[in-house]
């Protein structure tokens, strides 16, 4: 439906036999995919071991906590997952800083179409999307990062800082009580739980829907596991990005071979497991909030 594709792409052939429809472009680097996988696993781990506390009055919470090894077992899993997540966080921040220094390209990282920093275009995109939702405009197409993907990123970034920070406070109260009064642990405890509920509620509904479960993607989008986006998706959903690359001549450089069978199976299996656990968690949360 995107008629705005101005640059012919036929000139580039990744594989002689592959028809144009099966062409793929690289969207995520290997390091990003690996970090997403670790983030995902540790997030599900923290969520499953933490939710029983928030809903401790529910029968399912006792069952889940017992399955996870009682409160000591669950606490151990929670801390191991927290360390994994913390490692992902630190690695990510270091990689971002390193890229800014090595490439010297920090301006483009902070502003512009490749940047994750919210900017006026996002407000325009949101407005156009809402117009499309209510049937008052065409389906908008986006650049490399949509506004909801930026929200995802910053929500997780803020969430990891807040949940991670408060979690460390609660993990080592004797140490931190040297610097702060005891009631800060009340605050840490509150923030840790509420922010976690927000994160879990957000990731297991909106992120899942936006990324995977909406009719266009159902049941899941494997791009974050394979790192490769099919050409038609890049053209339709990220038309601005596609045109940008086509105009700058970067397009051919981003061509990638089709995802391997193994990476697809990995994506379907790991992603499917996380999706399933997440949806179960959401069903339990909604049940607990309602009843």
């Amino acid at each position: 439906m995107d008629t705005a594709v101005v640059v012919p792409v036929n000139a580039v052939e990744p594989r002689a036999s592959a028809p144009a429809a099966q062409r793929y472009y690289r969207r995520f680097a290997a390091s990003e995919r690996v970090m997403h996988a670790f983030l995902m696993l540790s997030f599900v781990g923290c969520a499953l071991t933490g939710l029983p506390l928030i809903f401790s009055h529910q029968a399912w919470a006792t069952v889940l906590a017992t399955l996870l090894g009682g409160f000591r077992g669950a606490a151990l899993i929670h801390r191991v997952c927290a360390l994994v997540m913390l490692t992902v966080f630190i690695t990510h921040v270091s990689l971002v800083v390193r890229r800014a220094i090595v490439t010297g390209n920090w301006k483009a990282m902070l502003w512009g179409p490749d940047s994750l920093v919210p900017q006026p275009q996002d407000a325009i995109d949101l407005w156009n999307n809402v117009k499309w939702f209510v049937g008052r405009g065409p389906k908008p197409t986006f650049d490399r990062w949509t506004y909801w993907e930026k929200f995802d990123y910053w929500a997780v970034f803020w969430g990891m800082a807040i949940i991670g920070g408060s979690g460390l406070l609660l993990w080592f109260p004797l140490f931190f009580s040297k610097f702060m009064p005891g009631f800060m642990f009340n605050v840490a405890s509150l923030v840790h739980g509420e922010e976690a509920l927000l994160a879990v509620g957000f990731i297991f509904t909106f992120h899942f829907f936006n990324g995977h479960l909406r009719p266009e993607k159902f049941p899941m989008d494997t791009v974050v596991f394979t790192g490769r986006i099919p050409e038609h998706e890049l053209q339709n959903e990220r038309g601005a990005e596609y045109r940008r690359y086509a105009q700058s001549g970067e397009l051919s450089g981003k061509l990638a071979p089709a995802p391997t069978r193994e990476s697809l199976i990995f994506g379907w299996f790991v992603g499917g497991a996380a999706l399933t656990l997440g949806v179960i968690a959401i069903v339990l949360i909604i049940y607990s909030v309602l009843f």
């Binding site: 506390l53 006792t62 509620g201």
Partner: protein, 417 residues
């Protein structure tokens, strides 16, 4: 040579015969000579009365009974039988135990059982239901129904029988099965049997009264005293506690032993179910503190059923609970840190400023906590509200688009074909 005179020989043979019969017939050979006459009819196992009713009396059991041992004649109890006029009438009067045991019967008439009988309840326990009839043994006899070791089974004939409990609406349900698994019930099965309490230790025997009877040993007012007969130290500690003080002032809404420990299900103080369950009991009165406790890690973990975590009693104490304003209280300003240190070894004064009952709705108690909670509420409502609507609209639009795309495809196919 001596010759036996025929008359004497017949007589001698007669005595030998009598002796032989006496020796051979077990019913007649048993002690209790005075009962002999009765056992001529009542000894046979399948002996029947004129109406075809069984009239057998186990002579051996009677012989070993407390009454048999005392060589009492049957007529001591069955006073309307005249041994000179046998057989006696088909229907005898009920035995009146009071003719000898006047004091006990008088006491019994004031009990819950006695009152129920008087009120026309034909199944409420009377003397024989607990003591038996011809086989009554002294309570000190291990084979006695009223022996310390056997009382659970004796009371359990009614209070441990679901059918009877239901039919007679016995209070507390199947209390004997509850008692059976309690710490007292289990102790009764150990070597410490004689020290462990059974039903009568708390309820009395001929003084069993309903708990709403002020004279009952298990009345709300008297429970601490009753439990205190064994648990002397606990009674003393409780008596000095805030709860004990309130009770002394006549406030019986203040908890007694059974409010936390239950009556018949009493568990060991460190049994996980008791440790986590008793928190809810505290919450019956201290609702706000239960709610705020449940918001903390302590409260969440115990709510999940794991007991190795601070409960109310861990910080406030159990029997000796005092208000925080009392310097002797475990949670007074003077003692609080030490109380935290029970679990958090090395905790500092700063650490002890943690509020185990922080209330997100109470601005005065902790403003930082209150405003953080308000901010988090707004954040959650904002994010879920915005993305909730965003998602609903998106989903709806996607479905609409897919439907119209499918229709367009179909139209194209139709045109093409």
């Amino acid at each position: 040579m001596t010759t036996l005179r025929p008359r004497r020989a017949v007589l001698a043979l007669g005595w030998v015969f009598v002796a032989f019969v006496l020796a051979w017939h077990p019913a007649l050979a048993a002690p209790g000579g005075a009962a002999d006459t009765c056992f001529m009819c009542h000894a046979e196992k399948d002996a029947k009365g004129s109406a075809g009713n069984a009239i057998n009396v186990d002579r051996d059991a009677f012989a070993h009974s407390v009454h048999g041992q005392a060589q009492l004649p049957c007529t001591a109890c069955h006073q309307d039988v005249d041994p000179q006029k046998l057989p006696h009438g088909a229907k005898l009067k009920p035995v009146n135990c009071a003719s000898c045991h006047a004091q006990q019967v008088k006491e019994y008439s004031g009990t819950v059982h006695g009152k129920a009988r008087k009120g026309g309840n034909a199944v409420a326990a009377n003397c024989t239901d607990c003591h038996g009839k011809h086989d009554i043994r002294h309570a000190s006899d291990p084979a006695s129904r009223t022996n310390h070791a056997n009382l659970e089974a004796t009371c359990g004939k009614c209070h441990g029988n679901d059918a009877i409990v239901q039919k007679a609406h016995l209070p507390g349900g199947n209390i004997v099965s509850q008692f059976h698994d309690s710490i007292h019930g289990r102790a009764l099965k150990t070597a410490a049997q004689s020290a462990a309490p059974t039903c009568t230790n708390c309820h009395g025997a001929h003084t069993i009264r309903a708990k709403d009877d002020p004279d009952s040993s298990t009345s709300r007012a008297r429970i601490p005293e009753t439990c205190g007969t064994c648990h002397k130290d606990v009674k003393a500690a409780f008596s000095n506690s805030q709860h004990g003080k309130l009770r002394h002032e006549g406030n019986l809404a203040a908890p007694g032993c059974n409010d936390c420990h239950s009556a018949h299900r009493i568990q060991q103080h460190d049994a996980p179910q008791f440790v986590t369950g008793v928190v809810e009991q505290c919450g019956n009165c201290h609702q706000e503190y239960l709610t705020t406790y449940r918001d903390t890690y302590h409260g969440q973990v115990t709510s999940l059923g794991f007991a190795k975590m601070a409960t109310c009693a861990s910080c406030h104490g159990s029997h000796e609970i005092l208000p925080a304003s009392n310097p002797a209280s475990k949670v007074s300003a003077q003692n609080r840190l030490q109380t935290c240190q029970q679990c958090h070894a090395g905790a500092s004064a700063n650490f002890a400023k943690y509020d185990p009952h922080a209330n997100r709705h109470d601005r005065a108690r902790n403003p930082v906590y209150f405003y953080t909670a308000s901010f988090m509420d707004a954040l959650l409502i904002g994010v879920f509200g915005f993305f909730g609507l965003h998602t609903v609209f998106w989903f709806w639009r996607s479905l609409v688009e897919r439907r119209s795309a499918a229709r367009a495809r179909k139209d194209a196919q139709r045109k093409g074909s």
